[in-house]
Point group: C2
Chain length 139, copies 2
Amino acid sequence: MPKDRLSDADYEALSNLRYTLRRFMDFSTSAAHQEGLPAQQHQALLAIRGYRGEEAMTVGKLADQLLIAPHSATELVGRLVAAGYVTRQVDPADRRRQTLALTDKAHAILERLTAIHLTEIREMAPRLIDILRALDVTR
Amino acid sequence: MPKDRLSDADYEALSNLRYTLRRFMDFSTSAAHQEGLPAQQHQALLAIRGYRGEEAMTVGKLADQLLIAPHSATELVGRLVAAGYVTRQVDPADRRRQTLALTDKAHAILERLTAIHLTEIREMAPRLIDILRALDVTR
DNA sequence: GCAAATACATCGTAATACGACATAAATCAA
DNA sequence: TTGATTTATGTCGTATTACGATGTATTTGC
């Protein structure tokens, strides 16, 4: 029971959803760049900071969170360490693992970025919910 | 009145939001690839199809929709035309403009992709709305 | 009818995720 | 315990794609 046929309104609503998401992503990328961070590095910092409150993030778990291959996470972390945003140290419990932590510099930047993101999201949310409703209506 | 301070829960909720969005994007990218389409080409087809129901899309308006530079849209359209998904012809009303239209092949693929996207969105929506609520609660 | 603006196009470049491959540590079976 | 397997991370070359710089054609404003 997928449903009848797709209407022009379906395509339009889906297109609008993607446009809204793109604008959010674009806002986010710009905000990160203004803080001197590539978007993916910002996401890495957020994933580390937001990981179940405050558990120990590792390279592999970061890869899971960001939906990238483990070795891509390795490279990303390498850039973050080089830029002074993250420290990496061997996990004593399993010496194959590298635990990651944010530096003060990263905490400061991430706080600013998170604040403006919350503001932006609160502005975007009603529009987003309207679009989701439009898509569900056709159900 | 931005508000007090950011809590662990704020970071976690924002991180969860991004993770949910990434999974949707990842789903979408994979679905497009299974149809032989790079994600950005899929978005272009959707933007052309969904543009206010059925108006004439142009290279420039596509750039606006995709939030890319006009010349990037040119290149993207070039790839779409080469792959047989889009036809491009001079707009008689303004011969600087190129109007874009989908081929039957593109319509067929886009219909399949849109159908499964709607299904996926309906599955994701409740989770998404919960997260948005969590972010607003802290308001 | 000419300057400015608009729309699209071309080419070389840079960023980054990936594939292929490699290393080290932990686990498990005999 | 040792050796095979799995897990976690790392290295290097490559490919994709958006961009900057720049160029051409068309339209518009005065």
